[in-house]
């Protein structure tokens, strides 16, 4: 693991010591190379995990997420080039440093063995994200968005700290590798329920669960493009990853605690999809669609069956790539028309046909078209939810339909129809933007060939 972390740390001196004209090139190239060093981790033993050291390990759940994290850094840097172009070099370097710092924390979070280290880095990821949102966001509302983002996540994760320390004192160790072997036969007492709640709330807020999702539309919409990308792609998955790890440690007798959250997720999934149909702001639409997809992941993790774990992991990776791609596409619109309102930038297919192709592919993967990995995730979750309770298929079916509806609405609104007069002189797509979109799509489409690498521990 050090072979990934040390180069990422060294990216910081690289940014500060680069010449201004080589800044973006250097950081992009080296971060791409670092993502290549993550690939050998894929060589997993099928029965257990790769234990690399006392502090770091990686198994078939954390490896795809690690790959996604390291793959996303060059993409974030590529996406930020345009709106940072007019800033002084020091600020550009500061921005890239924030991204790299976030990357370091995320890599360490996903590969942490010790749960306290996981917690510390989980909280530490908030700081660079907050700085990116509040300092470089677009509009006045970003301060509000930053406050919501920070305090929701902090308030949710304080009980997690208490619960972790309690477990450390009672059990003696919080090593994740050992956690798989605990046989917790504790009886049904109130303390256990509270412990369950304390563990899960942090991740519920992060996912986000429907009732606690208020920070997400604000943060996603007000963040700059790199912030939106990393929020949608990775930070939400931190919650899912945490939940997947923690459920192994918790007592199976308290599985009834999952019911309220299951109901909230089932209902919230349909609600947020419906809200998407009424959105006028493009980024807001994509943010709510993230909430809807993550609700599926929450449900899958809560029912704790092998198929659902596979679906959750696949859906996390697939959604990460798709959501990040949609944000990049929305940003390319915003940079040209300076407005996020969908009706002011219509009919782009006539003017930017290649970008329309990326829009089409992104929309198709977002609505879980077979044989994309989004479909695999959704299908596994749907099937396991059906086996858990027959009636849930009604809501899941409604959600799939509404997802298709709003995705197609977004596609048709932005691409088809007569274009508005004032966009006929927008700059054509840059090669940089096309590269960005294709670098998102290539893993998404290639994974169709062998989805077993993203199916997680229960495959």
């Amino acid at each position: 693991m050090l072979k990934i972390i040390i180069p990422t740390v060294m990216l910081i001196p690289l940014t500060w010591l680069s010449k201004s004209n080589m800044l973006w090139i250097n950081s992009t190239m080296y971060s791409l190379m670092i993502s290549m060093t993550c690939l050998p981790l894929m060589n997993q033993f099928c029965d257990n995990s790769l234990n690399l050291s006392m502090l770091f390990f990686s198994d078939s759940l954390s490896t795809p997420l690690l790959m996604l994290t390291t793959w996303l850094l060059p993409l974030m840097i590529i996406a930020s080039q345009h709106h940072m172009a007019k800033e002084p070099p020091t600020r550009k370097k500061l921005y890239i440093t924030m991204m790299i710092l976030l990357q370091i924390f995320l890599i360490m979070t996903f590969s942490a063995t010790e749960l306290i280290m996981f917690y510390i880095l989980f909280e530490a990821t908030l700081v660079p994200t907050l700085i990116m949102i509040t300092r470089w966001g677009g509009q006045t509302e970003r301060l509000n968005a930053g406050i919501y983002f920070l305090f929701y996540t902090l308030a949710g994760s304080l009980p997690l700290l208490v619960a972790l320390i309690y477990t450390q004192t009672t059990l003696g160790s919080l090593n994740l590798l050992l956690a798989q072997y605990w046989i917790d036969s504790s009886t049904h007492i109130w303390g256990n329920s509270l412990l369950w709640l304390a563990y899960m709330m942090a991740f519920m807020v992060k996912m986000p669960l429907y009732g606690l999702h208020l920070w997400l539309p604000k943060a996603h919409v007000e963040a700059p493009i790199a912030g939106s990308m990393v929020l949608a792609a990775i930070l939400l998955k931190l919650g899912g990853y945490g939940m997947l790890r923690i459920t192994m440690m918790l007592s199976p007798t308290i599985n009834f605690m999952a019911y309220p959250f299951m109901m909230l997720s089932l209902w919230g999934m349909v609600m947020t999809s419906s809200i998407c149909l009424r959105q006028t702001d493009l980024k807001s639409l994509i943010a709510y669609s993230s909430v809807s997809h993550m609700a599926l992941v929450i449900m899958a993790i809560l029912i704790q069956s092998p198929w659902s774990f596979m679906g959750a992991t696949a859906l996390m990776i697939a959604h990460g790539l798709t959501s990040s791609l949609l944000f990049c596409l929305a940003n390319s619109n915003y940079e040209r028309t300076h407005s996020r309102t969908m009706i002011l930038a219509r009919g782009l297919q006539m003017i930017l046909p290649l970008m329309a192709a990326w829009w089409l592919l992104a929309s198709l993967t977002n609505l879980a078209l077979p044989p994309s990995i989004n479909l695999i995730g959704e299908l596994f979750v749907t099937v396991s939810m059906f086996s858990w309770s027959n009636f849930s298929i009604i809501l899941l079916g409604i959600n799939i339909i509404i997802t298709a509806l709003y995705t197609l609405y977004m596609l048709i609104m932005t691409q088809r129809g007569k274009y508005t007069y004032h966009i006929h002189n927008i700059k054509p797509s840059f090669t940089r933007e096309n590269t960005l979109m294709s670098l998102h799509l290539v893993p998404l489409l290639l994974l169709m060939i062998s989805p077993k690498i993203i199916l997680g521990t229960t495959y």
């Binding site: 677009g138 509009q139 006045t140 509302e141 301060l143 509000n144 406050i147 919501y148 009424r278 959105q279 006028t280 028309t337 300076h338 407005s339 309102t341 969908m342 009706i343 002011l344 930038a345 219509r346 009919g347 007569k418 274009y419 508005t420 007069y421 004032h422 966009i423 006929h424 002189n425």
Partner: protein, 452 residues
């Protein structure tokens, strides 16, 4: 405890002001203080646009989808229709910017307020027809729930245009066009005119058109060459009497600045280029001063007085029920007053307006001018008709200006046309493509064939 503190504050303030304010004045002050304190708390709590450095609530927002430069009737009409025609509610953010919130020099407030459909351009006729319909049914459009219904003092008394021998033929063909467009007009001979309005002196009148409601356009094409297309990124809104300004990032700018549209267009770089090219074509709208006089004539025409426009160019209309009249006359090119200020020239009335009025309406031989004011026409020096639509080079600037004296009467319809252009991409209800900016470059005048 909170209330007690407030009571104390209110009480102390009350005593300081003396006994006279104790009974009536203290209560509104107290509620004011409460709302002030509430505002302060709200600006510090999260949930509002809070800037930790200083309070920016008096500045316009940093971002808006559409910025409308000019808050007169045209600008507000465009804003109204943009919000009314958007399909999902709350889709577009519109910011209307005006340099004078008292509207002291705006043409909207100083206008005579007449509306007619007797134009010769079909677009103008359709615009006026819709605007009349809008004003008639104003409560359908502009009524606010729980508020009393609106009364815009719309007096549909009609518009009377008089034509001398020379202009009679043009008037007849105009009336034919107006009837085609659906305006209700009737032609009257001098005898019929005398019967209907006995107070008119029909000397020199060959024909009169009395009605409520006009067309023709020619098109040309020319070859293209290389152009630079520009885009407005942000509008710097400068606050009143201070150096503070707020850059408002916007997607579209709508120029509805009336008499000052030419200057606003220059700020956007329209007209900076070699003359005769598209870059060098300026927006030919400039302010022209026009006088309006308000007089009282006890024997003047009564309630059925239409808005009368004489063959000489003088016009007047009835105002209220006390034999008061408003009127004026468009000066000829040589006698154009200086638009630098809004001073009124009373000699103009004595020399130019009164003789014609007195000739046409003998009762006006004895009248008393009560007051007068001057207002600006956003005069389109090219063809005296409005400019609507986008600029070919500065791609996100739309115009809704240059109506040269008939802006107020066509404002609702023009606002709707511009909103349709922004939201749908083309004119849906009234096709105003002959009023686009490109006609200034191509040199095709879209003129009103009036009798004057």
């Amino acid at each position: 405890m909170f209330r007690g503190v407030l009571w104390l504050l209110a009480g102390r303030g009350c005593v300081g002001r003396g006994l006279s304010t104790r009974s009536g004045g203290s209560t509104p002050d107290w509620t004011e203080k409460v709302s002030e304190i509430k505002k302060k708390i709200q600006s510090a709590l999260p949930g509002g646009p809070w800037d930790p450095l200083y309070d920016t609530s008096h500045l316009p927002p940093e971002h808006s989808d559409v910025v409308i430069v000019g808050g007169g009737v045209l600008g507000l009409s465009v804003a109204y229709w943009l919000k009314r025609l958007e399909k999902p509610r709350g889709a577009i953010k519109v910011l209307v910017v005006d340099r004078d919130h008292t509207y002291s020099q705006a043409s909207t407030g100083l206008s005579v307020g007449g509306i007619r459909q007797q134009f010769s351009l079909p677009e103008n006729i359709q615009l006026s027809l819709f605007s009349v319909d809008f004003l008639r049914n104003i409560n359908e459009y502009l009524a606010v729930v729980d508020d009393p219904p609106l009364d815009v003092q719309f007096n549909p008394s009609g518009y009377l245009l008089l034509a001398s021998e020379k202009g009679a033929a043009i008037m007849e063909s105009n009336v034919k066009v107006q009837r085609q467009e659906g305006a209700k007009v009737c032609l009257m001979s001098p005898e019929q005119l005398q019967n209907k309005f006995p107070w008119i002196n029909t000397d020199g009148v060959a024909l009169a058109s009395y009605g409520f409601s006009m067309s023709s356009s020619r098109m040309q094409t020319s070859s293209g060459k290389e152009m630079t297309l520009k885009r407005i990124h942000e509008v710097h809104v400068k606050m009143d009497h201070s150096l503070e300004y707020q850059p408002v990032e916007c997607a579209l700018v709508i120029n509805a600045a009336g008499a000052w549209s030419g200057q606003v267009a220059e700020l956007a770089g329209i007209g900076k280029g070699p003359p005769g090219t598209l870059e060098g074509t300026k927006l030919p709208v400039e302010p022209r001063k026009r006088y309006v006089y308000f007089w009282h004539c006890p024997e003047g025409p009564g309630l059925e007085t239409p808005f009368m426009a004489d063959t000489s160019g003088a016009y007047f209309r009835r105002e209220g029920l006390g034999h008061n009249y408003l009127g004026g006359c468009s000066p000829t090119e040589e006698e154009e007053p200086d638009p630098g200020n809004l001073e009124v020239d009373h000699d103009f009335f004595q020399d130019k307006v009164w003789p014609h009025l007195a000739h046409r309406v003998p009762a006006f031989q004895s009248l008393k001018v009560r007051s007068a004011w001057a207002g600006y026409y956003d005069y389109n020096t090219f063809d005296q008709n409005g400019v609507v639509g986008p600029h070919p080079l500065v791609v996100n600037m739309y115009f809704a200006t240059g109506f040269s004296g008939h802006g107020l009467q066509q404002a609702p319809a023009v606002g709707r046309a511009v909103a349709e252009l922004v939201l749908e991409g083309q004119f849906q209800t009234i096709n105003l493509s002959s009023l686009l900016f490109s006609r200034f470059y191509l040199g095709e005048k879209v003129e009103e064939r009036n009798i004057i």
